[in-house]
């Protein structure tokens, strides 16, 4: 395995009598999004603040590219800090500066760019994050969601290598929450930064992170991929994930991924006992990014929600519809073989096409491009393989546009 970019080695921190971190061992890898989950008050934010040096550990080491940060010289530390950006839980925008000045501040203070260039860069970031026409507005005049986006713009404006997010979606409604997640994931794919996200949003956070670490009572009790944490046998981890997970995905109203997987295992067991075949269909919205480019992140999420609603309304009662990723929906069809699934998918496509459905008002001619992949379950074939089989078949099957 590659060398971790940031590594915690037995880090301890106390505030007075309150022993918050009790020996943290954690690895964060380059180019990945690592989520830190855990109960409130367990020290997730404290952990994050250690990375950027806002808080110094009492004991233990924090290594950056294998080198302990505490032993670096001042100039070296300063250079290191320039690679980071931090998005605060309460946004920490400068309330006596306008939105434009807020976003431009790191450039104005830390670079020698000419004014015109700074203006260009700030405007560029504002456009990308749907923040037009609020240049001269002060943070206190903005809604919670807007503030988060301004904070995100300020964090991104210096094109940092590593971004630390402290609960970026707390207090937002499902559409805006998913919009922020989608922004983070989108930017990460485009610019390849390393992200560390402290979050409670389970399972949404699993869709965007490559690695997950769980903090419990001052220790990291689990770290691994999002897939691995779902399979973890640690009772505390399971209890936490299941406890936080709602019965329905907050945005789409579908059942969340982990529950979809549970239903899959149930169907698998049924197949083994009763030899009843079942299939899955994976629907992928291929042009979600285009909607976002035309109408913004929130429109993108709203369109996805409408789409999910429509799919659900056309399914049979026994079919199970769960969310699989940011732009993927998995349909689990009990007692259905491959041929029946194909017919069903064709029907679904016809119905969806004829339905004057996901109308993005500002762009009336725009169509949702959805591809569908189908696969029939086989004995002993785990869900990952089946999903992969369905996805690889999607070109052979249907591609339908919903307008």
């Amino acid at each position: 395995m590659a060398e971790p970019l940031i590594q915690f080695k037995d880090v301890h921190k106390s505030f007075g009598d309150n022993h918050v971190l009790k020996g943290i061992n954690l690895e964060i890898f380059r180019g990945e999004i690592t989520s830190i989950i855990g109960k409130s008050g367990d020290g997730k934010s404290v952990l994050l603040k250690h990375i950027i040096g806002l808080i110094e550990q009492d004991k233990g080491l924090i290594l950056f590219e294998g080198e302990p940060i505490s032993k670096m010289k001042k100039a070296e530390r300063s250079r290191l800090k320039e690679k980071f950006a931090y998005m605060f839980q309460e946004t920490a925008l400068f309330d006596s500066l306008t939105v434009f000045e807020n976003i431009g501040l790191p450039l104005r203070e830390k670079t020698s760019l000419p004014k015109k260039k700074i203006k260009e860069k700030v405007r560029d970031k504002m456009n990308q994050l749907d923040l037009e026409e609020i240049d001269h507005v002060y943070p206190s005049q903005l809604s919670g969601g807007m503030k988060k986006r301004v904070a995100l713009a300020r964090a991104l404006v210096t094109d940092p290598e590593i971004i630390l997010f402290d609960e970026p979606t707390t207090g937002l409604d499902p559409v805006r929450k998913n919009a922020v997640h989608s922004m983070i994931s989108d930017y990460q794919k485009r610019f390849g930064f390393t992200g560390v996200v402290v979050s409670h949003e389970i399972p949404d956070i699993f869709y965007i992170s490559q690695r997950v670490a769980m903090l419990n009572e001052g220790r990291i009790i689990f770290q691994g991929t999002a897939e691995e944490i779902k399979g973890s046998t640690n009772p505390t981890v399971q209890q936490f994930i299941q406890g936080l997970e709602s019965r329905h995905d907050a945005l789409t109203g579908l059942i969340p991924q982990t529950q979809g997987e549970r239903r899959f295992r149930e169907e698998m067991a049924r197949m083994q006992h009763h030899l009843s075949a079942f299939s899955i269909i994976i629907l992928t919205v291929e042009n979600l990014y285009e909607i976002n480019k035309m109408a913004g992140y929130e429109a993108e999420q709203a369109a996805l929600k409408n789409f999910a609603d429509k799919v659900r309304s056309h399914l049979r009662v026994t079919d199970i519809c769960s969310r699989l990723g940011l732009n993927k929906i998995m349909l689990l069809l009990p007692r259905t073989n491959q041929d029946e699934a194909e017919t069903l998918c064709k029907d679904l496509a016809d119905k969806m096409k004829s339905d004057g459905l996901v109308n993005i008002q500002a762009f009336p001619g725009f169509c949702f491009s959805v591809s569908a992949g189908i696969a029939e379950a086989e004995q002993e074939k785990p869900i990952e393989q089946l999903v992969a089989a369905a996805e690889s078949s999607k070109n052979v099957f249907y591609e339908f546009k919903v307008c």
Partner: protein
């Protein structure tokens, strides 16, 4: 538990208090040195300096004009009725001018600016501290002491002596209003006395005081705001309110105390 144990053990209590005071003084000194050093550190923060000069200097002018004229007028009255008993009302000009230039000018100017600009500094920086804005500066690798404190310190060192000069001039004119226009002293004698009795050392002494007060006031007020989060009593909004109060109280007391020390050296 801990505090009751301390109450029972006065020695421990004295020890703890002493450590607290020494630590606080050390932190204050480092804060001042960092701020002063960063004034001269390239690139200069010219725009922020001008903004602060406007806020501390320009915006305090009205308040200084008002206090100076009334102070001068009161000095004119009180001085006249005291001096007339000895038949020496002719030296009113000397009395008013020396009192203002040596003592009242620098002291009252500093106290007035503490009330007007110092409290605002403590509150503004305190709110920035509790809403994590100072942490945000640090995460952007912006030196927060340099960003918040240095321009204010530089602006105060420039504006305090200038405002003191304004105070002195208007105060002398106030003395003329009450002494000459209302009580009938000859204006020629009044201004002659002012001119002959004031020597350059008096003016220099006043200016030295003004510069020292500028450093004291701005350092105390910014320090109280900057370290709001370390207060043992009062968090959040209450913490900021305590910080603002202590900023004004400590600054005012220190102005008078340093005034005494400086006067004894300058005399």
């Amino acid at each position: 538990m801990e505090s009751s144990a301390l109450a029972k053990n006065p020695v421990a209590r004295i020890g703890e208090k002493s450590i607290f005071v020494v630590r606080e003084l050390g932190r204050l000194a480092i804060f001042l040195l960092r701020g002063a050093y960063n004034i001269f550190y390239f690139p200069f923060q010219f725009q922020k300096f001008i903004e602060q000069l406007y806020f501390i200097g320009m915006k305090s002018m009205l308040v200084i004009v008002l206090t100076a004229s009334f102070t001068g007028m009161v000095l004119g009255f009180q001085g006249y009725y005291t001096l007339v008993q000895f038949g020496s009302e002719g030296v009113l000009g000397t009395m008013v001018a020396l009192t203002l230039i040596r003592e009242l000018g620098p002291v009252l100017t500093a106290i007035m600016i503490t009330g007007r600009a110092g409290s605002a500094m403590a509150a503004e920086i305190g709110i920035m501290r509790i809403s994590e804005q100072i942490d945000a500066l640090e995460t952007m690798n912006i030196n927060s002491v340099r960003y918040l404190f240095s321009p204010r310190l530089a602006a105060a060192v420039i504006s305090f002596p200038l405002l003191t000069a304004l105070f002195d001039a208007i105060g002398i004119f106030g003395g003329y209003l009450s002494g000459c226009l209302l009580l009938g002293i000859n204006p020629g004698i009044y201004f002659y006395r002012v001119e002959t009795s004031v020597i350059m050392e008096d003016i220099n002494g006043g200016f030295i005081k003004a510069v020292v007060f500028a450093v004291v006031v701005v350092t105390i007020c910014c320090y109280q705001g900057y370290y709001t989060h370390l207060r043992k009593t009062g968090f959040g909004a209450k913490g900021v309110s305590f910080a603002t109060t202590s900023a004004v109280v400590i600054s005012s007391v220190l102005i008078l105390a340093t005034d005494y020390v400086l006067t004894s050296f300058l005399m």
